[in-house]
Each structure stands twice: as structure tokens, then as C-alpha cells.
């Protein structure tokens, strides 16, 4: 099994096969709302405490996030609908069981889904190989049952994983992993069987690290536009990926949703934007560029 360090061959972005997106788009834009459920009384795995502030439950922390499903999600989708955005939802699968109206609203809009685990309070780090295998079976089956969709990718639950994660994902038939913040283009990840790529997600253009720590909606809008401008310029030569990661409990707050509207209005007013999903980016990349990228990196690294 490759160690995490050796999963990805070095490949400098200035020296790669040129990527052409459909219709010569410069930027593949995907919007990733994290539709999550945090358990009221989770089980502490002994390593990472889901609610470190108080003994369980932490009602303030729990309810803050639950707001996302009760209110924020619906305000967020109104804004996304206004700009005809088809999302790739980072989904805690148990949401489909707890809150079926959310599942229906997403299916109605023909969103794509990547797994974000079952609950955001259950982390992969300590899973045995067999537990992790079962975890993929569960997420694949749950998604299929409630949406009819075949699962293709994952952002680890609360961005957690094991050394084995890429191999076990590929073994389960998944084709992309978004826990890698290492690039502005998809990149092959070395696995034991099948083909797996990283699709660039963002923890910088991401309302959770931004708004939970220091920043506000105006800054979010400023940096999203600056990110787009830079990638749009570079994408004239070779296609780039831009992801905006959202959490309904944050971006769906009344004082923030207008900034999402502002950002999407700005970006979508440009030609040459492929508004798409991580599913489609991964499939397109694997069909057109994966083999070339692997060969190119092998040559470069001797």
C-alpha cells in the first residue's frame, strides 16, 4: 500500500498536458454545499471529540448546525436556483433518513452527491479495514436507495480518513477523493486497483473555516471573485477547477446569503465557465486526461 506521501506523483502545474474543458471553458466551477447532521449525543472515539465545549449534548453547537437543515438550506437553495446552479452536495448520508424533504429537494434539482460519511460526528481515523469497507457499502447503498444515484466520490466525514482510504474507495468503485487541497486541477491518486483522482475542493473558499473564525460575508465575496479572476486568466491556457464550499448553517444565515448571490452573479456573468459537479469533472478528466497525466508524471519523475 502506498503511504500517503507517495499517493501522488509530483507534477508542476506549469509543465503538464494542457487541459481543455468542454466548450473550451476556462474554469470548471463546482459548488459544494456540505449538507450535514451532527449527532445530539455522539459516541466519543477517544481521539477527536465532536463536542469538546461541554458534556454531551452541546445544545448551542448542535442547534447552530441544525439551523442549517431547518432554515439555512432552503435560503441557500433559493440563491443557487436563481443562478441555475447544479450542486455537488457533500452529504452526510443519514440526512436522507432523518430529513427526507432535504433529500427530495436535492433530487428535484438533479444535484450530484459525494459522500461526506454517515454523520459529521463519526470520523474514519480509527476504522479497521473491514469497518471502512463496510462504511463504503453503507454509503453507496444509502445514496442509491434514497436518490437512485451511484456514488462516485467522497470528502471524508469532517475530512477524516485512514492510510487505506484511497485504496478502499477505489475498490468500492469510487473515482474521486476531495480531501486533497494540493492543486487547481484534478490529479491522479495512486491506488491498488481502478482509477482514483483528486478533484480540487477548498478549505480556503469555504464558509466554515472563514465564518467560524474571523471573517464575514463581504470578505468571502471579495476572495471568491479574486480567486475566479486569477483562475479565469490562467484557464485561458489550460483549464482550472474552482470550488466554493458551503455549509447551509453558515451561508444560509440572513446576513450572509446575499453575498453568495453577489459571488454567483459575478462568476456566472462570464463566458467560459463550465458550471458542473465533481462527478462530471472526475469522469471527464479520467476519460480524457488521466492516462496522459500518469505517463507525463512518470517521465518527469524518472
Amino acid at each position: 500500500m502506498p503511504s500517503p506521501q507517495n499517493r501522488v506523483d509530483y507534477s508542476p502545474i506549469i509543465d503538464r498536458p494542457v487541459i481543455k474543458w468542454p466548450n473550451d471553458a476556462r474554469v470548471a466551477l463546482w459548488i459544494a454545499p456540505n449538507v450535514e447532521h451532527y449527532e445530539y449525543e455522539p459516541e466519543f472515539d477517544g481521539h477527536r471529540d465532536p463536542w469538546p465545549r461541554t458534556p454531551y449534548p452541546d445544545v448551542q453547537g448542535y442547534a447552530y448546525r441544525d439551523y442549517g437543515n431547518r432554515v439555512g438550506f432552503w435560503r441557500m437553495t433559493d440563491v443557487l436556483d436563481k443562478h441555475n446552479i447544479r450542486c455537488c452536495v457533500s452529504l452526510n448520508m443519514a440526512v436522507l433518513e432523518h430529513f427526507p424533504e432535504i433529500g427530495e429537494a436535492m433530487v428535484q434539482r438533479n444535484y450530484d452527491f459525494m459522500s461526506h460519511g454517515i454523520y459529521n460526528t463519526r470520523y474514519l481515523n480509527n476504522y479497521t479495514e473491514e469497518q471502512e469497507r463496510e462504511f463504503y457499502r453503507d454509503t453507496i447503498d444509502t445514496l442509491k436507495q434514497h436518490t437512485g444515484k451511484q456514488l462516485k466520490g467522497m470528502l471524508g466525514p469532517a475530512i477524516s480518513g485512514t492510510e487505506r482510504t484511497p485504496d478502499l474507495m477505489a475498490e468500492a468503485g469510487l473515482i474521486y477523493h476531495t480531501d486533497w487541497m494540493h492543486d487547481d486541477q484534478p490529479v491522479p491518486i495512486r491506488v491498488n486497483s481502478g482509477k482514483l483522482v483528486s478533484v480540487p475542493y477548498s478549505i480556503e473558499l469555504n464558509d466554515a473555516p472563514l465564518f467560524r473564525q474571523h471573517y464575514e460575508g463581504d470578505y468571502f465575496a471579495e476572495i471568491c471573485k479574486a480567486q475566479f479572476d486569477q483562475l479565469y486568466q490562467e484557464g485561458a491556457h489550460s483549464g482550472r477547477v474552482m470550488c466554493i464550499a458551503l455549509h447551509p448553517y453558515l451561508i444560509g444565515q440572513p446576513h450572509r446569503a446575499p453575498y453568495l448571490d453577489d459571488v454567483l452573479g459575478y462568476i456566472m456573468s462570464h463566458d467560459g465557465v463550465w458550471q458542473t459537479t465533481a462527478d462530471d469533472i472526475a469522469e471527464y478528466y479520467i476519460a480524457n486526461y488521466y492516462d496522459e497525466a500518469v505517463e507525463h508524471a512518470a517521465r518527469l519523475n524518472g
Partner: protein, 304 residues
């Protein structure tokens, strides 16, 4: 050891010297400010050796359990993508890069070594890995071996021995300046305490500091203090203006320490570009590498 209550520094590395009582430092062509941009190429390990000292270094969602995909891959962004934006920006403004490169990068990224050399960068020592920081936990022999490993790896990778040094995370033991000097290094950037170079005491040949502005370090400002990036651009410009003013009387150095995984992100690079552009529009700015600045200082010391 606790300080003795007497005049001067409580360590042997350099003399007490208030800037107001110094001679006049004149840069080439009477420049007011010597601008040095240090670019860090540092490679943290996913699973560092148990006996290494590792800070909870920046990136990702903060330090998480192994394997920390988000944080380690975030740092890798600098090597894959960010470095090229940063070097392009420096070239655009005619600023030669000073690249602080750790041994893990020099060994595993020959492409980047060559790219930096082709860009005319000076490559300086930056330890073995971001996840192996020098501290007083090291024995003298271990620290000597650590410095030697960094220097010999860079020498092999670049074809010449580095003359400058920046410790990963600015890490030093109480012996580091002497050991660096013994290893043939001639300047060190860890001491963020001045606006001019100054000499260090060393039994092994002349040794100087090239002081970095810690408040303008992109990790310190953007990550740790969470300055918004537009304000960071202003900080750079405001800092420069004051140094430019003060540098009319007595030359100043503005040494920036930047991290491509952070400042090289698409949404951040434009702010750096604009700040450097405003600085370089002015007359009387000498953009130089660390060794050019230190060599000049050595050959043209401040005069009364």
C-alpha cells in the same frame, strides 16, 4: 540559563546596539531600502519520526489525526502550484528570489530546484523538513548532523553550498548561530529583531543576520493573526513607506518571508503583486538576494 543582571544581551550571539546610536548604512546607489523576498519551499512529513520536534504548523483545518490529508496536501499546493505564481510575480517586478529550501524538497523535487536556479534565485538552507524543527532538545552532535545534512543535500542538489539559512519555523537552539557558522554559513534570517543586518559573534569566520519582518510573514499575518488579505497588502505598503522614509537617513532592509502554499493561492497572489508593484515603482529601492545584501553590508559597514 537565567539572565545575569548586567549590561547588554543575556546571550553571547551579538552585541546590544540601538538603531538610534548606529553609524550610517549606505546601500548601493544610496538606495533607501534593500528589499529581500524569501520564499519558503518546505516539505513536512506525513508521519515525522517520533523523536523530532514538530510545531502544530499551519495549513488545512489545523493539526488533525493521522493521516492529515487536508493539512499536508494544503502545504503541497505550494510545490505544485503556488511557487510558480510567486516566482512569476517577483520576476515581473525585477525582484530576485531568495528561496529557503529544506532538504526534503531539495532531494525529492529536482524539477523545483532547477526551476529556482533557472529563475536566478539564491537558494538558502532551511533545515531538513518543516516537521523537524531545531530546538534545544537536540544534542550538539545531533544539531551539527542536522545542519550538515541540510547543507550537503542542498550542495548536492544545487551544485553549490548555501551561504544563508532560515530555520524551519525560525527554530534554533542556544547554539545554532555558532553551529551554522561552523558549517560554512554566512548569514541567518531567524532573528526578527532589526531593520538592518548586523554581525554575529563567531569563532568560525564572519557571520551576519538578515532580519525578517515577522509581522509581515504571510503565515504570521494571514494565518495566525487572520489579517484579511486586502489589509495585508496595505500592511506591506505602509511598512514599506515608513522604512522608505527612515531609510533616507540610514539604510533599511525589508526582508519578507513568504510561503507559496499560502500567498500563492489564486485569490491572494494579486494582493502581493500590487504591493510589490507599488514598492518597485519608487526610486531608491534595491531589490536583492540575501547574500547580496549581507555581502554589501560586510564590505560597506555603517560609518559614523
Amino acid at each position: 540559563m537565567p539572565a545575569q543582571r548586567r549590561f547588554g544581551m543575556d546571550h553571547p550571539h551579538y552585541d546590544w546596539s540601538p538603531i538610534s546610536k548606529r553609524g550610517i548604512l549606505r546601500w548601493p546607489d544610496n538606495a533607501r531600502v534593500a528589499l529581500c523576498v524569501i520564499v519558503d519551499l518546505e516539505k513536512p512529513e506525513w508521519d515525522p519520526p517520533a523523536d523530532s520536534f514538530t510545531t502544530p504548523f499551519a495549513g488545512g483545518l489545523g493539526a488533525r489525526g493521522y493521516p492529515d490529508y487536508a493539512r499536508l496536501s494544503h502545504r503541497e499546493y505550494g510545490h505544485r502550484v503556488g511557487i510558480f505564481r510567486v516566482l512569476d510575480t517577483l520576476r515581473k517586478h525585477g525582484i530576485p528570489a531568495t528561496v529557503a529550501m529544506d532538504a526534503m524538497t531539495a532531494e525529492n523535487y529536482p524539477y523545483l530546484v532547477q526551476h529556482c536556479l533557472d529563475a536566478g534565485a539564491e537558494i538558502i538552507g532551511h533545515g531538513v523538513s518543516l516537521s523537524r524543527v531545531i530546538t534545544s532538545n537536540m544534542s550538539e552532535a545531533e544539531e551539527r548532523e542536522y545542519i550538515s545534512q541540510s547543507v550537503s543535500t542542498l550542495t548536492q542538489a544545487t551544485g553549490s553550498a548555501p551561504v544563508g539559512w532560515l530555520g524551519p519555523e525560525y527554530g534554533e537552539s542556544a547554539r545554532t548561530p555558532q553551529l551554522l557558522s561552523e558549517a560554512g554559513l554566512r548569514y541567518v534570517c531567524d532573528w526578527v529583531n532589526d531593520e538592518q543586518p548586523y554581525p554575529l559573534h563567531s569563532p568560525h569566520g564572519q557571520m551576519f543576520t538578515l532580519p525578517v519582518m515577522w509581522e509581515l510573514d504571510d503565515v504570521g499575518a494571514l494565518w495566525e493573526r487572520r489579517v484579511v488579505v486586502g489589509r495585508y497588502q496595505q500592511l506591506l505598503e505602509e511598512s514599506f513607506e515608513t522604512l522608505y522614509e527612515d531609510g533616507q537617513q540610514n539604510g533599511r532592509v525589508m526582508a519578507l518571508n513568504l510561503h507559496p502554499w499560502l500567498i500563492g493561492q489564486p485569490f491572494r497572489i494579486g494582493y502581493l503583486d500590487r504591493a510589490l508593484g507599488r514598492m518597485m515603482q519608487r526610486g531608491g529601492v534595491w531589490a536583492a538576494t540575501g547574500s547580496q545584501i549581507v555581502d554589501w553590508y560586510r564590505d560597506n559597514p555603517p560609518t559614523a
